[in-house]
Assembly symmetry: C2
Homo-oligomer: 420 residues x 2
Amino acid sequence: MKKPRIVIIGAGFGGLEVAKNLKKAQAQIIVIDGRNYFLFQPLLYQVATAGLSPADIASPIRGVLRHQQNTDVVMKKVTGVDLQAQVVIAENEKISFDYLVLATGAHHGYFGHDNWENFAPGLKSISDATKIRRNILLAFEAAELEPDLEKRKALLTFVIVGAGPTGVELAGAISELSRRALASDFRHIDPRSAKIILIEASPQILASFSPGLSKKAAKALLKHGVEIRTNSRVGDINGEGVSIGSQKILAKTVIWAAGVVASPAGKWIDADVDYAGRIKVRQDLSVPGHRNIFAIGDTAAFIQDGKLLPGVSPVAMQQGRYLARLINAKIKGKEFESEFHYFNKGNLATVGRSFAVADLGRVKFAGFFAWVAWLVVHIYYLIGFRNRLLVIIQWAWAYLTFKPGARLIVSPEEDDQTGD
Amino acid sequence: MKKPRIVIIGAGFGGLEVAKNLKKAQAQIIVIDGRNYFLFQPLLYQVATAGLSPADIASPIRGVLRHQQNTDVVMKKVTGVDLQAQVVIAENEKISFDYLVLATGAHHGYFGHDNWENFAPGLKSISDATKIRRNILLAFEAAELEPDLEKRKALLTFVIVGAGPTGVELAGAISELSRRALASDFRHIDPRSAKIILIEASPQILASFSPGLSKKAAKALLKHGVEIRTNSRVGDINGEGVSIGSQKILAKTVIWAAGVVASPAGKWIDADVDYAGRIKVRQDLSVPGHRNIFAIGDTAAFIQDGKLLPGVSPVAMQQGRYLARLINAKIKGKEFESEFHYFNKGNLATVGRSFAVADLGRVKFAGFFAWVAWLVVHIYYLIGFRNRLLVIIQWAWAYLTFKPGARLIVSPEEDDQTGD
């Protein structure tokens, strides 16, 4: 009898976890992704701030699943799902499924102001990260050559919109880049005079943390010279900078770390989605109206105890493991009644070197040890010993020398003035 | 009395060497480059074959010269030189000079077939390298999904045009990628069946080496499954592949490692140049007709003992050191009679893992120890301890596991299917 086919769209934290935990399943598993690598999103901000190279936080999907003989990796962009025929449409191909897992993640959303993207790139992909790295480093280069003081000030002003973990970590890293790494690199400007402004619409930064920890993080950011503007809603972003109400902040570099919207997966199966395009799933992660289609991670809106689960990797991974167990049971024709329940191990966020905040529910702490915990957790979840080793060394190096290593401005239209 | 100003265009091996050796000069030194980093060209082929990350072989120019207070780094693209006014024109700026050093290097040239570049990219810049890496990895991905056997064969055929050190090193590295790293990654194709063809117009590969070593290198390449075609002149390159005379090789991936042409520096000062655009310099590296303008490295055609010096980094570095001494003497009003003389320490080229050829003039050897020598030399000349450490570790890792780590397909138009 033919093995059931499980199609997983998206090889992020959630999708890969499903695939890995179906290693022994009597099924044919097909993982489809438009990219050939898994990206360790939580460290992407370090690529954007010249701390790490893209390859350090990415692992080829085929490499991760190489020894899983029941699994096939297809590098294609999915454009839709044909529910009638029960097939996924990936470019020119139709891939039939018995079970479908939608793990296509999210990308940054601009609350309807899509034109803001041109001036304030978000941070979701490697090309986003290298573009932001380029923008930041080019701003210092341009400032060095800019005689006009006003323009120079705008070039040395960096605005980050959104004070979640990513925004906070970006602010801390940019501050260190300007205060330490680049401090003695220039002759006509003092990079330490760079202004870093973190804008947050809600009343506190790191909203997912306790008010106490949020205050501690804010204090640490201030020590790093980061200016924090809470209760500030961005009205407009353009080539000049950012406006908040009637006030205008002149800044050449603006980074978007605010809203995200789910991938179009919801539309593919015209499911019921929430305001951010997340599919409203049942307690077993299945999509209402479909018994064999599931959504996890940032693609799913899962309500637990009346609250929406956050779009973080632990949620995606736990959902992935749960879903693998559920599908395995279904394949074996076993009953599987238990509902998914997210166990929150806690939240961590780092603020520059040697300081982080850790919210482990009952236990809450901030400072050096929270930072060490942050290091350990991130190294632990990084796929592949090689990447772990390289990241540890580069962190140690940057920690001791204050000099992140990947300070490269590379653009596709890179000019070739120097052949060497 | 005003300090003389020395303008160096190009921060490659040659230009940086001039700047570094003028550290103590009573002069104002300005280094102009369109990029913000020095690129360690000799290892660029490893970025193209997924062995290293760009940042591992690049160092920010400002970082290299940070402690040199008499030196200014300007990141701009030079578009010309105004000899009348004695100024360099860099974008919107005019930079005057008392001494001008042209160290702008070379880029790949197609002997008048510029349209070939679309099908056979060369390997001179980081974006070249990541593009080639993308092409190679995408070819395997496409082959995995290609039902048509003929098309699949074309996808798994890799042609390298030009069998100098770069071509040979590329061939060896691609062979290992297909024979080792990717061997177990695919389900429908066997990457080991990939065909790697090295095309050379002259009768022997590694023409700069002795016939004996060239033969040994050829044997090593054959052992790696590389097909060598000497005495073969490419007639055409297009989307289908490469034609040699009447024969057509169907190949989706073609890499250009043949000719290079010098940068337009010669035109800027309308100097007398050779067939490849290199400025014919005097024995003191000055440009005929100018006492204060010099050309070095790939920008210069220097004839020693009736032979043109090769476009390799040792030549550029030795010329750079010589020129720094010469300019220093001129500044001090001292006589400086000695002419430049290149001391050839020897040539090294590696053929995949554990094998290299070393031509040290009298001493010639091939095999494992030549390979160790190659490792040591390249690590030694790599700028910055951090880069050295990272490269050593990644080489050790790749050597032990046969798996290069940077197997990333990243394109600017990278699609965002997986938000994570």
